[in-house]
């Protein structure tokens, strides 16, 4: 008997009798202003929120914030300028990237997380290997809580999907919070109309 068969047969024999699946209860009193809640939460977890009218403003902001010779990778078609990459690239070539700009699918007000899927990453190492990360989010794409978030994700197919909430962080040394453990040292969220 293989280990697979052995495990499965022991599990079948030992699992207790029928227990029904519960319904998921949605919070009764969600914030009336999820937009404000989102901004407050992102800031609270070490992110920075910048309100923008559109892509040209984002371009200007990034140019000013990360002057030459910073390596800025742009994965958004609508955003003018910066370096674009071919999809199948070796992720090791991104070790010197200063900042990557990506489109976030939607944000979650209760925890400041932004959902990203690999189709917006172009290369799935980029959100983690870049020194800084900039995510562009439309103002109307914010949901209240995680239950709503998973309703929105639904049965979507992806290779990699991730919630990113703030910059990479650690408090492993005496509980002192340090931003930029292994991944981006800062997270900028551009909220556009």
């Amino acid at each position: 008997m293989t280990s697979r068969e052995k495990i499965l047969s022991a599990v079948r024999q030992n699992q207790p009798g029928e227990i029904p699946m519960p319904d998921i209860h949605y919070p009764d009193n969600v914030s009336s202003n999820i937009f404000e809640q989102f901004v407050k939460t992102v800031t609270g977890i070490g992110g920075e929120v910048i309100h923008c009218s559109g892509y040209p403003e984002i371009q200007q902001h990034l140019q000013k914030r990360f002057p030459e010779p910073a390596r800025i990778i742009n994965t958004i078609n609508e955003l003018p300028g910066f370096e674009t990459i071919a999809e199948p690239s070796d992720p090791h070539t991104f070790s010197n990237v200063s900042v990557t700009v990506m489109l976030g699918n939607f944000g979650v007000a209760e925890n400041g997380a932004i959902w990203l899927t690999e189709e917006h990453m172009l290369n799935s190492a980029l959100p983690y290997i870049s020194e800084h990360l900039a995510l562009v989010l439309h103002r109307n794409s914010i949901v209240s809580h995680l239950h709503e978030a998973y309703d929105r994700i639904g049965h979507a197919d992806y290779r990699l999907g991730t919630f990113i909430a703030g910059p990479s962080k650690t408090a492993d040394i005496e509980q002192s919070l340090v931003l930029g453990a292994h991944g981006p040292k800062s997270l900028i969220v551009f909220l556009v109309n």
Partner: protein, 458 residues
């Protein structure tokens, strides 16, 4: 006889430095308070715990079907699925995959399962170098120690000691103990490993039967950097990590980080569903005693654990005895009910490392009856002969006295007289009860005598 030191002996060593114990205690209590604040901000927190608990109960009752569904979906996604009956088989499978790719150095992010299986030691014996990439885990690895906490692996280390450790191993300037500086040094050191390694191991927080995907949560991003830069990603999980549906993640991710550190969510909650182009994705499903535990009405519940560590942070015994006193990969209250099932002889002391105060049960996000299981384990252990002769004699004597009311009254009177007349007979270094505490002065009369006297005056 036990070959290693017991929890009580190791805790006594930890307690020699009282300032350190107080610091350890207060640091963990601070984390517990953060958890409370985060939980209070979620209006339906108790309902959420109840839902999570019920989802887990349901999943365990249908685990066979969900394991099959997960396997089928994962295979359809292009993930290679392996089954390991025990720790040894798990280690062999992981080693074989590494060998197939012809490498002798790998990176690994936090996985309590691989700690449980002793993977690092096994791979080291096979000539494979494992670099733990979680900062706390890397610190204890450099020091040659196991983690002392499942979420905060080096919570027992002071920054000055970490500064010295990094000075020795990473060449940082002597005397620099600034957490920012040390974290930057570790970042540079580990980035080199991330760039060079072709195989990355991660743990699994949740695996979804419906979609065949699995979720890994970190704050540092080390699991992601490892997995995205390597050609081969091996994810190791216990079979109890399965949840039925993707939308159940909403329930568990709302609870996990809030319970663990008081954050609303970890920085990264990555959903791995398919291997990247030209890459390999493996999952190792490990039993290692879980299917046996599933058959126990008393202890099944512990399989609901999502490894948040809330029970550690709240436990008055853990906070004052330190993680290493538990001499097992998973310490604290949850470790004390998990470990005896794996090796009753070796871990017979752990269910006694508790005051049974119940705080662990009260904070558990999936409502495991931890303190009840600690109590039940004690019954099992005594029945199986795992009690010291002193404890046995004491319990037998107490049983005899309590079963005869006249003997109880006489003994009480004698004991009160002795304690009042010769307090040194009880409060001395030979009585384990009076270590670090003193017995109070007993009253002149018992409650029974008082009651009899006062009632007669009515």
């Amino acid at each position: 006889m036990q070959q290693h030191q017991t929890h009580a002996e190791l805790a006594e060593q930890f307690n020699r430095d009282i300032n350190r114990v107080n610091w350890h205690d207060q640091t963990l209590w601070m984390v517990r308070e953060k958890r409370d604040k985060a939980a209070q901000q979620v209006p339906d927190w108790e309902q959420l715990r109840e839902t999570a608990s019920q989802i887990k109960n349901h999943t365990l009752a249908h685990l066979h079907a969900y394991l099959l569904e997960f396997e089928q979906q994962a295979l359809a996604n292009g993930i290679q699925v392996h089954w390991a009956a025990d720790a040894e088989e798990h280690n062999r499978i992981v080693h074989r995959i590494i060998q197939e790719h012809g490498v002798d150095r790998i990176v690994k992010s936090k996985s309590m399962l691989t700690e449980e299986c002793g993977l690092n030691e096994y791979l080291l014996q096979q000539g494979i170098e494992v670099v733990d990439t979680d900062l706390g885990e890397r610190i204890v690895q450099l020091a040659g120690e196991p983690p002392s906490h499942i979420v905060l692996p080096c919570i027992h280390w002071k920054k000055e000691e970490i500064g010295e450790l990094f000075h020795q191993h990473l060449g940082t300037p002597k005397g620099n103990a600034d957490p920012d500086f040390l974290t930057r040094a570790a970042r540079a050191h580990l980035r080199e490993h991330f760039m060079m390694r072709r195989v990355a191991i991660t743990g699994v927080n949740f695996a979804v039967a419906e979609t065949g995907e699995f979720v890994v949560c970190t704050n540092e991003g080390n699991a992601d950097l490892g997995a995205q830069l390597a050609d081969v990603h091996i994810a190791c999980m216990g079979i109890e990590k399965i949840i039925p549906k993707r939308n159940h993640l909403g329930v568990f991710l709302r609870l996990l980080a809030r319970s663990a550190t008081g954050q609303p969510i970890t920085t990264y909650s990555s959903h791995f569903k398919k291997p990247g182009p030209g890459k390999a994705l493996h999952i190792v499903l490990v039993d290692n005693g879980r299917s046996t535990r599933l058959g126990s009405d008393d202890f099944r519940n512990a399989l609901k654990c999502i490894r948040c560590g809330a029970c550690f942070n709240t436990c008055p015994v853990y906070r004052r005895s330190g993680g290493h006193s538990y001499h097992t990969a998973i310490a604290g209250p949850i470790g004390s009910i998990l470990a005896p099932a794996l090796d009753m002889e070796k871990h017979a002391d752990l269910p006694f490392a508790s005051t049974l105060c119940g705080s662990c049960t009260n904070v558990c996000p999936v409502k495991i009856d931890i303190h009840q299981q600690l109590y039940t384990w004690r019954q099992v252990l005594i029945k199986n002969g795992h009690a010291s002769s002193t404890k046995k004699a004491g319990i037998q004597l107490t049983g005899m006295v309590l079963s005869k009311p006249w003997l109880f009254r006489v003994s009480g009177k004698v004991a009160r007289w002795i304690m009042r007349t010769f307090p040194g007979l009880m409060n001395n270094r030979f009585n384990p009860w009076t270590k670090q505490r003193e017995l109070p002065m007993p009253p002149k009369q018992s409650f029974r005598d008082w009651y009899v006297n006062n009632r007669s005056h009515d």
